[in-house]
């Protein structure tokens, strides 16, 4: 795939994805406290990271919904509504998942 990486990278074994992803994710977990021992994040940088943090999640939901159908949109809308009203992640997920399951059961295809 043309992603601008040198072609030798194409010859690396595919299973390297597993340790690579684990290493990246652990590094992001460890980086925050390490950074904070050295520098204090500027207020602008803090705000940027704050905006980035929620935007990544929003973007993934929006992308999934753009590719999916009404069923997934309805499940997400219900989960978000329950979260906004009941402030419970647990019940938001129960509601969204149940709706999707019921939809598959009663409105297959």
């Amino acid at each position: 795939m043309a992603d601008g990486f040198p072609s030798f990278a194409g010859e690396l074994p595919i299973w390297l994805i597993v340790p690579l992803v684990a290493a990246i994710v652990y590094a992001t977990r460890a980086l925050g406290p390490v950074l904070m021992t050295r520098i204090s994040l500027s207020p602008r940088m803090t705000r940027f990271l704050d905006g980035l943090a929620i935007s990544v999640i929003v973007a993934m939901v929006a992308t999934a919904l753009a590719k999916a159908g009404l069923r997934e949109a309805a499940a997400v809308a219900l989960a978000a509504t329950v979260m906004l009203t009941a402030r419970s992640v647990f019940w938001a997920m129960v509601a969204g998942i149940s709706l999707a399951a019921a939809w598959s059961h009663f409105l297959p295809g």
Binding site: A9, I24, T63
Partner: protein, 233 residues
Amino acid sequence: MAEHDDTIRLTAKGVWRGFREMFAIALFSIPFGIAFGTAAADAGVPPLETILMSVFTFSGVAQFAALEFWREPVAWGMLIFVVTAGSARLIVMGAVLAPWLNRLTPGRRFLALAWLSDPNFAKSQPAYRAGERDAGTLLGAGLALWSLWVIGTVIGALAGNVIGDVSVYGFDVVMVCFFSAMVAGEAGRRTAFLPIAAAALVAVVTLPWLPGGWNVIAAALAGGAVTVLRDDG
């Protein structure tokens, strides 16, 4: 001066308490893990690699993102970018918890951080502000989420074809429902509206134009940028 009990510690008792308190929400890690295991099987990832990914990565976002790249030739550069951007929020969470965690010995600090994820951060951060001093609660809650996530992954990876189509049980929407609940939880904050709107708009508009995954990066950067610009303006 009497330094009374404000010491930050990490105890087994705290770990167990964190584990118990997180258990109900952590149960969702099982269907979430099953959904990941079956999605990985669909993407052609062998069961061992799938399970190792859950054991050592323990991140739904990063792992689902990685599945998109499981085909030869691997787009390594884009994989690194997407996984890093998808995990950038962990840097923020770690920075927020730093006043707590940085008072532990490095060994304990980096141990607790290995199990840092969205739900235990969301629970621990207000608890710390409210006076919780045992960082074991963060670790214990993470262990509850992680162990059930691994169990779910094993079921999905090994029995995915027996279970069949997980959408019958609504398992396919576990991740997207969890994310939308997190976004809705944040949406109450005044500062969250602009990045949410900007990110959703950019993600959808750029989806047909950008190669897979890049629309998420564009949307994330847009959301980060509007957050900075709004407060500067």
